[in-house]
């Protein structure tokens, strides 16, 4: 017999087992964020040439730790929590097999711990990409495979929940737009994890000297995992944008068909975007490169631009419909800027679009890629997308999930209000300065750009020192913002004040009347 509780604020029915699964995934995600964040500061203080903290061995080790924790463990654990939320509470459905969910969670945790062990003990100094012929301990590849299998089971569980919800008629009409977005993320996750299996299983066998792996083939298939995994983020992030818009200001969905079509465009074309990682590889012909990156990829970019329009337009329309009609930007001026959910939404949309989106499309052009590839411009781009975009959106929704799922008040509320500004502001400076430094040719993933003891001499433009210094300051501000987020969430979840039954009761009366309709509305 499934036990439910009814959320006092939204009126949604929440399966208690599903709630526990959500909590567990969110907590582990935050731990991974903490580990990755500490690694980020260490990497930053090494790339800042004035400080140059770590030696070369530890620099590459910590860079590996940073990449895996941030791009894989933090993001995917959080996305698994989002999947449980979108399939369970948003559809008023039970979770069909909690035991399967816990088994998958254990697989993911064991995989993560195995990878952490290999990385921290120097058995996997291969960076996030682990390009062959760089070789890690077999346990590293085994750990990644375990983690991926666990994630795949969670995705399967998500689809099973959709089937159960449909069969038991726990919702009416089509699934809500947010759940549709989560389903998009889940489909892309299947494609991604398929690529992961296709490349990590052979590489695992290669690490045991049981077979040969061609480096070019590795790169091609691996990026089907490496980049596509970031597209899961994009789809999940856009879903969170719609959710935050509805929760914070009652944003309306401008046009269900357009938003859903844009999600479908992601499924159809976004995987091809992985090809832009191979634009300077000699193995692929120009036709293959151009078709994938200048035709198919642009269809996925079109999808992002559609969402980039419909999300703020939905906010504007929702606010204008509630009477905020003064001038062009009266609605924006009257928006709840002190609500960390809303500020996170706006900052995520703006930095993702203006910095991450524009740089990404530009660098994905075959000819331009030749001057950007392997420079700091590339991490400048993806810190604006994955960090300022996805992580910022996930941080914003956390401030709502703490009361809704953990049933606690958000601790240090005044700090929570400024946290998005610190984090996004710091990351904006960091990303833009990285991009500038890359424009001067500063390489990415490089321990020492002064090339000490190198047989050749290379001098960068003198302004590079200043740009790298400002970049470091931006990074430190962002790290403070990230540390605040971890402090607030951990304190709230483990030591925070419990919600009392009456805290949100009056809100429910109004919410039940309509506010969550826009958050959970399905197409007719």
């Amino acid at each position: 017999m499934t036990a439910f509780r009814v959320c006092p604020s939204t009126g949604l029915r929440i399966d208690r087992q599903g709630e526990l699964l959500m909590r567990a995934h969110a907590v582990v995600a935050t731990v991974a964020l903490l580990v990755g964040g500490v690694a980020a500061v260490l990497v930053l203080l090494t790339r800042w040439q004035v400080v140059h903290l770590l030696d070369s061995v530890w620099f590459y080790r910590i860079l590996t730790v940073h990449g895996m924790n941030m791009l894989i463990f933090y993001i995917l654990f959080f996305e698994m929590a989002v999947l449980y939320f979108c399939a369970g509470p948003l559809l008023n459905s039970r979770i069909p097999s909690p035991k399967t969910g816990w088994a998958a969670f254990v697989l993911m945790v064991v995989g993560m711990l195995t990878v952490q062990w290999t990385m921290w003990t120097g058995r996997a100094d291969v960076l996030f990409t682990s390009y062959v012929p760089l070789r890690a301990h077999p346990a590293y590849y085994g750990g990644v495979i375990l983690f991926a299998v666990g994630a795949l089971v969670v995705v399967g569980h998500f689809f099973a929940t959709l089937v159960v919800a449909k069969r038991e008629r726990s919702y009416e009409g089509s699934v809500p737009l947010i759940t549709f977005g989560a389903a998009t993320a889940a489909i892309i996750a299947v494609i991604t994890l398929g690529h992961g299996a296709a490349i990590y299983i052979p590489t695992f066998l290669w690490s045991l000297d049981l077979m040969h792996v061609d480096p070019q083939v590795y790169r091609m298939v691996w990026w089907g995992l490496g980049h596509a995994s970031q597209q899961i983020n994009v789809a999940a992030m856009v879903g969170v944008w719609y959710l935050l818009g509805a929760l914070t200001v009652g944003a309306v969905v401008l046009n269900e068909k357009i938003s859903r079509t844009a999600f479908v465009l992601y499924v159809l074309f976004i995987s091809m975007a992985a090809a832009h990682h191979l634009l300077v590889d000699p193995g692929m012909g120009p036709a293959w490169k151009v078709v994938n990156t200048s035709y198919f990829m642009y269809m996925a970019v079109l999808a992002s631009m559609l969402h980039g329009f419909t999300v703020p337009a939905g906010v504007e329309l929702g606010m204008r419909a509630r009477g905020y009609t003064q001038g062009l930007f009266g609605w924006l001026k009257r928006a709840p800027w002190g609500d960390p959910g809303f500020s996170s939404l706006v900052l995520s949309v703006v930095v993702f679009g203006f910095v991450g989106g524009i740089t990404g499309v530009t660098f994905g052009t075959e000819q331009i890629n030749i001057i950007a590839h392997n420079t700091l411009r590339i991490p400048g781009h993806f810190h604006a997308t994955v960090v300022s975009g996805t992580a910022m959106a996930f941080m914003g929704v956390t401030y709502y999930l703490i009361p809704l799922i953990f049933q606690r008040k958000v601790a240090f509320w005044p700090l929570a209000k400024v946290q998005p500004y610190l984090f996004a502001g710091g990351m904006l400076v960091f990303s833009v300065m990285m991009t500038f430094a890359g424009t001067f040719g500063v390489p990415r993933r490089h321990w020492d750009i002064t090339f000490t003891n190198a047989p050749f001499d290379l001098q960068f433009h003198p302004s590079v020192d200043m740009v790298m210094g400002v970049m470091a300051l931006g990074g430190i501000v962002a790290a403070v913002g990230g540390a605040l987020y971890i402090l607030i969430t951990v304190w709230s979840v483990f030591f925070g004040e419990r919600l009392q039954p009456g805290d949100l009761a009056h809100a429910h009366e109004r919410t039940a009347a309509g506010a969550t309709e826009s958050a959970t509305a399905g197409g007719a």
């Binding site: 509630r322 001057i371 009361p403 309509g514």
Partner: protein
């Protein structure tokens, strides 16, 4: 009605939109009923074009023809 620890969107959710409120919104010519967003979109497109052109210009410095 601020209360520490609870996001305004939960504590004081946005009121429901009247059924005909969207239909009654003023149209702003070609910018429709969301003129603010349309302006932001134009700013975005201008930034996009500028950055894209700048990169082709940068490329022309290092990849000369002829």
């Amino acid at each position: 009605m601020p209360m520490n620890g609870l996001p305004p969107g939960l504590l004081n959710p946005p009121p429901p939109v009247a059924p005909d409120a969207e239909a009654r919104l003023k149209e702003h010519g070609w910018m429709g009923s969301t003129p603010g967003t349309m302006i932001l979109v134009l700013v975005f497109l201008a930034a996009f074009a500028l950055y894209y052109f700048t990169n082709w210009k940068l490329l022309s410095f290092v990849w000369r023809i002829g």
